[in-house]
């Protein structure tokens, strides 16, 4: 026997995972991208447990991040893009929080943030790139000096360096500080009973995020037998021993999409944007969809079986063909 089944105490509810791994002030990496595979069940639970002062690190994030910011859980943000595609070209609560100075933020690019997670995963303190040269991403720091001495905050945003391998010619590169978040929150399609994770479709920077973190929580649509997930290891994504909590939770990314399981819920995303535009209506949204339900199953009851059936993915295409998306 080369691998024991993952210990049963790794399987838990969203409430247990959040209370065990995400204290006030934690640095969390959000998996997914804009309207795809956001770890929504965990995000709702973070809001219900009123976790505060989170330091969020991500590349392009949308729905989940916007909800966390709007609910007042985020103190600091390092980010490349806050948007929901056509459903919100700039996420509304993200935009308001920055315009009103309610959070601290630092801008990087998608590639830069992905490389920072990669550096953390590789155990190196920084990583060079050509991306960012000639821009304000290098010149303007968002975080004030006083927080740059705090834990898991890089002393500098980035450093410009001449290529040390060339002696006669100029060849500037940008050095980016590694990220080692306290916990990565990832939503996947399947986890084996042994804890092996399978993500289908694009992985974004989820694998680098998971490998860079001190702890990893994976929510999943389905738990499948060990023999099943190991019958197709070429398509598996993360090994069991990197995973600290497995949270089985169907439709755990709703209203964002989960390839081959369900499409994004276009009506819900449009509704959310309208509610987010106004402070009072945003509070009503939270009351109805987050505080007013105790579990993700209660949330799904509110969404309704008809809507969930309507966004079910086509088994060949991976999305819902002909979905009304306007």
């Amino acid at each position: 026997m080369n691998q024991k089944a993952v210990s049963a105490d790794k399987f838990m509810t969203p409430a247990e995972a959040v209370s065990r791994f995400i204290p006030n002030g934690a640095q969390i990496a959000l998996g997914g991208f804009t309207i795809n595979r956001n770890p929504m069940a965990l995000i709702h639970e973070i809001i219900r447990q009123n976790v505060r002062d989170l330091h969020v690190v991500c590349h392009s994030h949308g729905q989940g991040l916007d909800l966390l910011i709007g609910a007042g859980c985020v103190g600091r943000l390092e980010i490349a893009y806050g948007g929901n595609g056509r459903f919100a070209p700039t996420c509304v609560r993200f935009r308001k929080a920055i315009e009103q100075g309610k959070i601290l933020w630092e801008d990087y690019s998608n590639y830069q943030m992905s490389l920072r997670f990669l550096a953390g995963a590789l155990g190196i303190p920084f990583i060079p790139t050509k991306s960012g040269l000639g821009t304000d991403l290098l010149r303007r720091e968002g975080f004030p000096r006083e927080i740059r001495t705090q834990r898991k905050v890089a002393p500098r945003k980035c450093v410009l360096l001449q290529n040390p391998f060339l002696e006669k010619e100029d060849d500037p590169v940008v050095l980016l500080p590694a990220l080692t978040p306290d916990v990565a929150l990832i939503h996947s399609q399947q986890v084996g009973e042994d804890g092996t994770v399978k993500i289908r479709g694009l992985t974004f920077a989820d694998l680098e995020q998971a490998k860079s973190a001190d702890a990893v929580i994976v929510t999943c649509e389905e738990v499948v037998p060990r023999s099943h997930i190991r019958s197709d290891p070429d398509h598996n994504s993360l090994p069991p021993f990197l995973i600290d909590a497995v949270v089985p939770i169907p439709f755990g990314a709703h209203p964002t999409a989960c390839f081959f399981y369900y499409d994004y819920d276009a009506q819900h995303l449009n509704h959310y944007r309208k509610m987010a535009e106004d402070d009072q209506r945003f509070r009503e949204y939270l009351a109805q969809w987050v505080y007013g339900v105790k579990t993700h199953n209660e949330y799904l009851d509110r969404v309704g079986g008809a809507r969930l059936a309507d966004i079910r993915a086509d088994s060949v295409l991976g999305y819902r063909k002909g979905l009304e998306r306007r």
Partner: protein
């Protein structure tokens, strides 16, 4: 001639700048229309890929975000961000990136981050996403803009993605030996960049628009002396755009 919108003219004009075999870094919105119309008309060997890692999807339905599951369907390969950016900057590939922005200067440097001071912006936008990366690493960049004086400015409030930096060879000296914007496609016409000074000039004005009107809507002096009128969209281009690419009118207004 059928009537057509500025948006259709922009998509078709940008599509005509694509060469067969180009590797296209597309966003959503109008760049999706431009790349798909080009693929169906004159550049069938062009390949569309997304910064999220979706490479050459079948695009039977239009994606509404670069993480839309439609960019993962029927691809040759599904990967992630680091793989995607290794393609954007690949030295063997002629990659063309399509970007949009809130502000642009005469050297094609663009702002998609904020209006007003960075620390206390009056308007905050989404931020770079992959725009900075594409602006630094792609072989060519094509930029979509709404043509207004407050958008074509002397100095953008924030420089998110580099164009020709300060003109001349300053981009190369900044450490970016390849790339740079080749064209700006606005709702009024097409701007290109002088091969030496790298300053923006008016190359084409759309039918019904005068070069003088474009100069009036540009917040810096722009050379309009050599501009010619664009060829209007053909019936075939319009039909493909309306009936085959966006029949649900998800992007077309």
């Amino acid at each position: 001639m059928d009537s057509y919108s500025h948006q259709e003219m922009m998509a078709i004009s940008a599509g005509r700048l694509i060469r067969d075999g180009d590797i296209l870094f597309a966003g959503t919105g109008i760049s999706m229309l431009a790349t798909t119309v080009a693929k169906r008309i004159h550049a069938p060997a062009a390949v569309v890929f997304f910064e999220t890692g979706g490479i050459d999807p079948s695009l039977e339905e239009l994606p509404l975000a670069v993480a839309d599951p439609r960019v993962m369907s029927g691809t040759c390969l599904n990967s992630g961000l680091i793989d995607a950016f290794s393609i954007v900057g690949h030295r063997r590939l002629h990659t063309v990136a399509f970007l949009g922005a809130a502000q642009i200067d005469r050297f094609g440097n663009i702002n998609s981050t904020c209006i007003g001071p960075y620390e206390k912006p009056s308007i905050r936008f989404s931020g770079s996403g992959g725009a900075c990366d594409a602006g630094c690493l792609a072989a060519e960049v094509i930029i979509f803009m709404q043509h207004e004086k407050r958008r074509f400015v002397e100095t953008p409030d924030y420089l998110t993605s580099p164009g020709w930096v300060k003109g001349g060879d300053s981009r190369k000296r900044a450490g970016l030996p390849r790339g740079g914007p080749i064209a700006v496609v606005s709702n009024l016409g097409i701007m290109k960049f002088n091969a030496n000074s790298r300053e923006m000039f008016l190359a084409e004005y759309f039918p019904g628009i005068t070069p003088e009107r474009i100069a009036e809507h540009t917040g810096f002096p722009i050379d309009i002396s050599g501009a010619i009128e664009s060829v209007p969209p053909t019936l075939e281009e319009l039909r493909i755009l309306r009936e085959e690419i966006d029949p649900q009118k998800l992007i077309l207004k």
